[in-house]
């Protein structure tokens, strides 16, 4: 078995859609920390990507249950050899926006998203992983943040993680 140090890189580049121009200085609306639950995995092994997210003071982001607003979405792109399961979103907080008499599901305090993944143990999965020693997992975190008086454009943050693949 190979022993390869976990290599993790997350690219945080704010922008929405393709060809995004970088604005000179954008406020940090959501602090993002992520980590993998395992350094090395074998076919059939389950592991997780965890995002610890902390909205900036006064800021809220929208929970997946909202209607008419842009909900937070953590998405791992499909790829051969990887099984992508559901994301666990925590219970939302209720935010009362009095001017519109709305009660909206948001996250205002630090919260955690957990994405469960597995190396595909099926013959097709094993074939896809054959000869792979390091698997790069790509995903995006999309969110849109507001405070009481201003709403910031939606942001999509591309992220990547790399996990060592054990022979099995």
């Amino acid at each position: 078995m190979r022993s390869v140090a976990l290599f993790f890189a997350a690219v945080l580049a704010a922008g929405a859609g393709a060809g995004a121009q970088q604005a000179p200085s954008r406020p940090v609306l959501l602090n993002i920390q992520s980590h993998l639950s395992a350094e090395r995995v074998a076919a059939g092994d389950t592991f997780t990507v965890t995002l610890d997210l902390a909205p900036a003071p006064g800021i809220h982001v929208y929970a997946p249950t909202v209607v008419d607003y842009k909900p937070i979405a953590f998405t791992i792109g499909p790829q051969p050899g990887l099984v992508v399961r559901k994301v666990a979103y925590p219970q939302a907080e209720k935010y009362v926006y009095a001017p519109l008499k709305q009660t909206i599901d948001v996250y205002q305090k630090p919260f955690r998203l957990v994405q469960e993944l597995a190396l595909d143990p099926s013959p097709a999965g094993r074939a896809a992983l054959k000869g792979t020693s390091m698997l790069t997992v790509k995903g995006t975190l999309s969110y849109q943040a507001c405070d009481e008086k201003i709403c910031y454009p939606p942001r999509t943050v591309p992220m990547t993680w790399t996990v060592a693949v054990k022979e099995s």
């Binding site: 121009q21 604005a23 406020p27 709305q102 008086k149 709403c151 454009p153 939606p154």
Partner: protein, 403 residues
């Protein structure tokens, strides 16, 4: 206050008519409706002005201090002056400073001045608010009086107008001055020059000075000029403008970033308000109706409003739905790209935050107002009013808004 330039001469003629009263038409009648002169004559017959020598009608009206005020409350003052004024009327606005000065000058001479707002708020059409930052409602009176630092009681009578009917103010401003027995000794204008310069006769002061001296008031009645009193009986007639507005289509036009850059230079030749908003923005939805109202009020004065949805092209239907709900019958735009940050940087490189984003540009493109986040509607309107050109009749009003 809508001033239709073509009608200025007709209005000037009406000011010289035999009725010896003058009030500025704010809603020129359609050919099939009564003329302005007919309207004024009808209103005068329906709400005759209190005659000289008549006793002051009693009242019990709410003031902007949220307390009720009666005629008896002022019984200790030998002279009582009641000025009928309004928030919205540019003529009334131009007299506020002089009314405050009368209060100051006669405070220790036994003169009590109070003001009454007689207009029914619903009887003032949107275009008649084209010199106003607030309407004529009671809550708006508090805002206006606070901002203008009124030093006199300001009472509201717009709902029933029963007291106004008994006094019969023809316009705002129209002043009534009573002696110690509360007999009417003078009614009419405050002085003979709305603009405040070249005043030849300070009629109200002359009346007050005569009463203080125990002499007959030399001129008991003068013609008035201002904005006609907005009687609630005219509410139905004021709805025509809104019906016409609601009949206009609501369109959403797709433009490029380059076209937005051109818009930033203000090619309209008018004062231009541009508001960026989005369907995913709560504060945008909150402020939008007030921005639209501002446009309805000021559009007769070379003022334009363009809205820009910061939604992406695939969200055009949602943007259209919002605009339909608000009946945003102005020029509405949506940009043809997903690159929202590119749109922001392309329009204004210093725009760093989000929406709502409101900017007001003078006809020469100079920025006169900017708000990143929900706009302070009152500050916005005051800025706009401070740059819209005066119609000659209200020269001085632009300066009034630059306070």
């Amino acid at each position: 206050m809508r001033i239709v330039i073509a009608r200025r001469f007709a209005l000037a003629a009406s000011m010289l008519c035999a009725t010896a009263t003058a009030a500025l038409a704010q809603t020129p009648a359609a050919p099939s409706e009564e003329t302005y002169a007919q309207q004024m004559a009808r209103e005068q017959s329906e709400h005759p002005t209190l005659k000289i020598g008549s006793p002051a009608p009693d009242f019990n009206l709410i003031g902007i201090d949220d307390k009720m005020h009666t005629l008896r409350e002022y019984s200790s003052a030998p002279i009582l002056a009641i000025a009928f004024i309004s928030n919205h009327c540019p003529a009334s606005q131009l007299y506020e400073g002089r009314i405050k000065q009368i209060v100051r000058d006669y405070a220790d001479k036994g003169v009590q001045l109070i003001a009454i707002a007689p207009n029914g708020p619903m009887a003032v059409a949107p275009r008649e608010l084209n010199y106003a930052e607030v309407d004529d409602s009671f809550d708006s009176m508090k805002i206006h009086a606070s901002y203008r630092e009124f030093n006199f009681p300001y009472l509201y009578e717009g709902d029933t107008q029963l007291i106004a009917h008994q006094y019969g103010p023809k316009v705002t401003p129209h002043i009534f001055i009573f002696d110690k027995d509360r007999k009417l000794r003078y009614e009419g204008r405050i002085d003979d020059n709305m603009r405040g310069n070249n005043i030849k006769t300070s009629d109200a002061r002359n009346a007050i000075d005569a009463l203080i001296a125990g002499k007959p008031v030399p001129v008991e009645h003068t013609p008035v000029f201002g904005c006609s009193t907005k009687w609630n009986s005219a509410i139905a007639g004021k709805q025509k403008e809104m019906k016409e507005w609601m009949a206009q289509p609501v369109k959403l036009e797709t433009v490029s970033i380059d076209q937005l850059k051109q818009l930033r230079k203000n090619p309209t030749g008018k004062t231009l308000m541009i508001n960026f908003w989005a369907t995913w923005c709560g504060p945008c939805q909150t402020e939008y109706p007030e921005l639209l109202t501002s446009y309805l009020w000021y559009r007769s004065r070379d003022f334009e409003f363009v809205s820009v949805a910061l939604n992406t092209p695939d969200e055009k239907a949602a943007a259209q739905k919002f605009l339909d709900e608000k009946h945003s019958a102005v020029r509405n735009l949506i940009v043809d790209t997903d690159d929202v940050y590119g749109v922001m940087a392309g329009f204004d490189p210093t725009w760093e935050s989000g929406v709502p984003f409101t900017i007001v540009l003078a006809p020469d493109g100079k920025e006169i107002y900017r708000s990143e986040g929900e706009a302070d509607i009152l500050a916005l309107r005051r800025k706009i009013l401070g740059v819209l050109p005066d119609a000659g009749m209200f020269a001085g009003n632009t300066e009034y808004w630059r306070k």
